[in-house]
């Protein structure tokens, strides 16, 4: 989501990084672009000005103008300033504390439509994975069917999400009718839930509250009274990552009324430029704990200012990539695969399962963007996830025998598979040829030293040439067709070249 923001930064910093020496006015000029980039990214107006002032001050203080590589140094300063802005001191991720005596009480709040209910489910899944038993209570009695929604979410977490502990749900749907007619109904529900949580002995109680406008005094009072009565150990504000300048107002009011302990940014997987992330921390002083990255209940990640700052500047995020990989593939599995590869025993079946776990990690482009240096290079490259779909379709249309050994694929079999997968026969031929070549290479490579390996890689790339088609790509990785939207020579240009 930070792509657009990093573009703005990149162009501003490029202006500086190319120069041997820069003057104060160069710095200020580049900051003007940074300022526009931040404003377009919905970072709050005053925050932007303050941020830019900080940068200029630090840059001039460190005397970047006399440095040998002023551009590099400026990037360093901006990187650090971004981290400071989003994090300010809290290096370790505080997570959700574990209080004794149990239960730890977590209260969620936020505007309507920010994703509180879904986030409750995600938080429960996060805790369940870490062996903590959870109870979620539906204190949103206002929105129609909100109680039903939370109940379903809790059941889904309990049934489908990894982890051994239980996720309970507490709700009093019949109280919805009374709601609005009498005061303190939501508070009462929370009190009952707390009692139930103690009886069940769960260690965390998550309270889902109704969405409300921060200028709605009555509803804000309700939140305050829940907070006063139940005394949650952690009050989390859910903020939509797509929020505009108004993020300041709502975050500030919620914080004033409830003393927010942490922030969860939802819808972080959209293409918003992410200004809210930069603003909210500054306004509330509370750390951003998690970011929501998808519709699934396990799509929530810990927020790390350092990594996000790196991503903004196009520096990549290897740590997140490795974490994602570890989430998907167990170590034994990886070892088993490596062994198979070494023996040249890798089958299409294995390939398919590897591809599947790779895809569970997220869209290709998002993954590639985490590799340092790749992010900005990928900007104009359109990685086609659909290509992977087609390969999956082809492999699934094969018999067990064919999957084990692609060599048996004669023309008739290829035609059958092509029909089954709804692709062209050529594509099937390409896949089998490439897979055959790949297994040969891996067999050869496993017996070589590093030098031989590099040689073999070169050969492979050479042999692949244009014919690698579906597998070609920039990385020579199977199934990654890449298309350079701007750099592919048009037929016209090709024609010119020939002349």
């Amino acid at each position: 989501m930070f792509e657009r923001l990093s573009d703005g930064f990149s162009s501003a910093l490029k202006k500086l990084s190319g120069r041997g020496s820069i003057s104060e006015s160069n710095v200020r000029e580049a900051m003007e672009d940074v300022r526009t980039a931040l404003l377009e990214a919905d970072v709050e107006y005053a925050t932007v000005n303050e941020f830019c002032e900080t940068i200029v001050e630090r840059a001039l203080g460190q005397d970047v103008t006399k440095s040998i590589k002023p551009g590099q140094e400026m990037i360093g300063i901006v990187h650090q300033a971004l981290i400071d802005l989003m994090q300010q001191g809290a290096e370790d991720h505080p997570g959700v504390p574990k209080i004794t005596p149990a239960p730890t009480i977590v209260m969620m709040c936020g505007l309507q439509g920010t994703g509180k209910t879904t986030t409750c489910g995600k938080l429960a899944a996060y805790l369940k994975k870490r062996g903590r038993s959870v109870m979620i209570v539906a204190a949103d009695l206002q929105r129609p069917a909100a109680v039903d929604q939370l109940k379903t979410v809790a059941e889904q977490v309990n049934a489908d999400m990894p982890g051994g502990s239980q996720v309970h749900f507490y709700g009093e749907p019949d109280k919805c009718a009374e709601y609005g007619k009498a005061v303190g109904i939501a508070v009462k529900v929370c009190q009952n839930a707390l009692k139930a949580a103690r009886e069940k002995g769960v260690d965390t109680l998550i309270i889902d509250t109704a969405g409300r406008l921060h200028i709605n005094n009555e509803l804000m009072k309700e939140l305050s009274s829940i907070k006063k009565t139940i005394r949650p150990h952690q009050t989390l504000l859910v903020v939509d990552a797509m929020t505009g300048q108004d993020a300041v107002n709502s975050a500030r009011t919620f914080h004033q009324q409830l003393a927010v302990d942490g922030v969860i940014l939802s819808k972080f997987d959209s293409d918003t430029r992410g200004g809210a992330a930069l603003t909210v921390k500054k306004v509330t002083g509370a750390p951003i704990l998690f970011v929501g990255t998808g519709e699934k209940l396990d799509a929530m990640e810990e927020f790390h200012a350092e990594r996000v700052a790196g991503r903004i500047l196009g520096m990549g995020d290897v740590v997140s990539l490795v974490e994602k990989a570890q989430d998907e593939v167990s170590e034994e599995e990886a070892e088993r695969m490596a062994e198979k590869m070494a023996k040249g025993e890798l089958t299409l079946e294995d390939f398919l399962s590897q591809m599947k776990s790779l895809r569970r990690m997220g869209p290709m482009k998002q993954l590639m963007g985490m590799i340092p240096g790749v992010g900005s290079a990928l900007k104009d490259v359109d990685i086609d996830d659909k290509q992977l779909d087609r390969i999956e379709g082809m492999v699934k249309s094969m018999t067990a025998e064919e999957r084990k050994d692609v060599k048996v694929m004669n023309q008739s079999r290829r035609r059958r598979v092509a029909r089954g997968a709804g692709v062209n026969v050529n594509e099937v031929s390409k896949l089998t040829k490439q897979f055959d070549m790949m297994s040969k290479m891996t067999r050869q490579m496993s017996g070589m030293g590093i030098k031989g390996k590099l040689g073999a890689m070169r050969d492979m790339q050479g042999a692949a040439g244009g014919g690698m088609g579906a597998m070609g790509g920039t990385q020579g990785m199977p199934g990654m067709a890449t298309r350079r939207s701007t750099k592919t020579a048009s037929p016209k240009r090709k024609f010119k070249k020939r002349k």
Partner: protein
């Protein structure tokens, strides 16, 4: 006239916050500008306020650049003149076009409603249904949000409250199938209006956007000329990302109008200026509260008037 006044004051109530943001306090932009003569400081301040109202850097700077040009040319030099100029500039963003609902010549009118998660689709549909029912039309709702837990139930509760029929599928079912059934039902029951609720989806999720196209195509196949309206629900608290949303949803389902929600908060709603500046989709409705009655047709004159404030709004509001 009284009717118009009522409408204006209701929108103003919702936009009071916007006005305050634009002016930094009570009294309207006009008061901020009144009696002052234009200088660079004032123009810079003006640009800042427009940006803070989510109007967008590009649009704000264009508006102010225009004003600066007028000032340098000697055509504008007082704050009052600047207000008038700004007002006409903003109003010009919305060309006079039909902002009412396009109805089918004959048979049911199909209104497809889409938007990102949490924009307020279901509530907005309740508002539309109530508005159209009050106009004497028979309305059927199609609960095609089979993804989010409780979404079908939520729409069902609204349908009971407003007193309209609803066609629903099972949680986790195929939304396109529900749309299909709903079209058949609308034809069979001779309904005037079929409003289709869809699951919230981020405009960046390609497979989900394709699913939306599929739902749209199904209605086209079943009912002549459908969907007659494709409404994108936009949250007014959204920042510049609203522009991307408008573009991407239009790509998938040819949006014909916007429903701008949550204008009753402190959100500046100025994002419609940015959206209008970069797409040609008209805003058709605005949502200014949580009950089904809290809906207004979008009127640029009223909107801009309320946005900028004017002399007669203090006693009236």
């Amino acid at each position: 006239m009284a009717l118009l006044r009522g409408a204006i004051s209701k929108v103003r109530k919702g936009l009071a916050r916007t006005r305050e943001a634009l002016t930094g306090g009570v009294g309207g932009l006009r008061n901020f500008l009144a009696g002052r003569s234009i200088d660079d400081d004032l123009l810079r301040e003006l640009e800042a306020r427009l940006i803070q109202a989510d109007v967008g850097v590009k649009t704000a700077s264009r508006l102010v650049t225009d004003l600066r040009g007028e000032w340098k040319a000697g055509r504008v030099d007082t704050g009052d003149q600047a207000t008038d100029r700004l007002k006409s500039q903003l109003a010009d963003l919305w060309p006079a076009r039909d902002r009412s609902i396009t109805f089918a010549q004959s048979g049911p009118t199909v209104i497809l409603v889409a938007g990102v998660n949490g924009a307020g689709k279901t509530t907005s549909i309740a508002k539309l249904a109530s508005l159209l029912t009050n106009q004497g039309k028979s309305v059927i709702l199609a609960a095609c949000d089979t993804y989010r837990a409780g979404a079908v139930r939520q729409l069902e509760i609204w349908s009971e409250r407003i007193g309209v029929q609803i066609v629903k599928g099972a949680q986790g079912g195929d939304p396109a199938a529900v749309a299909f059934d709903a079209c058949e039902a609308a034809l069979a029951r001779n309904a005037d209006i079929l409003i289709i609720d869809t699951a919230g989806r981020l405009h960046t999720q390609d497979p989900l956007m394709r699913q939306l196209t599929k739902i749209r195509d199904i209605t086209t196949r079943k009912i002549d000329g459908a969907p007659h309206e494709v409404i994108l629900v936009l949250d007014a608290t959204t920042g510049q990302n609203a522009v991307n949303q408008a573009l991407k949803f239009t790509e998938a389902i040819d949006v014909t109008g916007l429903f701008l929600t949550k204008l009753d908060g402190t959100s500046k709603g100025g994002v419609v200026v940015a959206v209008h500046d970069q797409t040609s989709i008209p805003v058709k409705f605005i949502g200014v509260g949580e009950t089904p009655e809290d809906v207004e047709p979008f009127d640029p004159a009223v909107f801009v008037e309320a946005l900028l404030g004017s002399e007669d709004d203090q006693p009236a509001a």
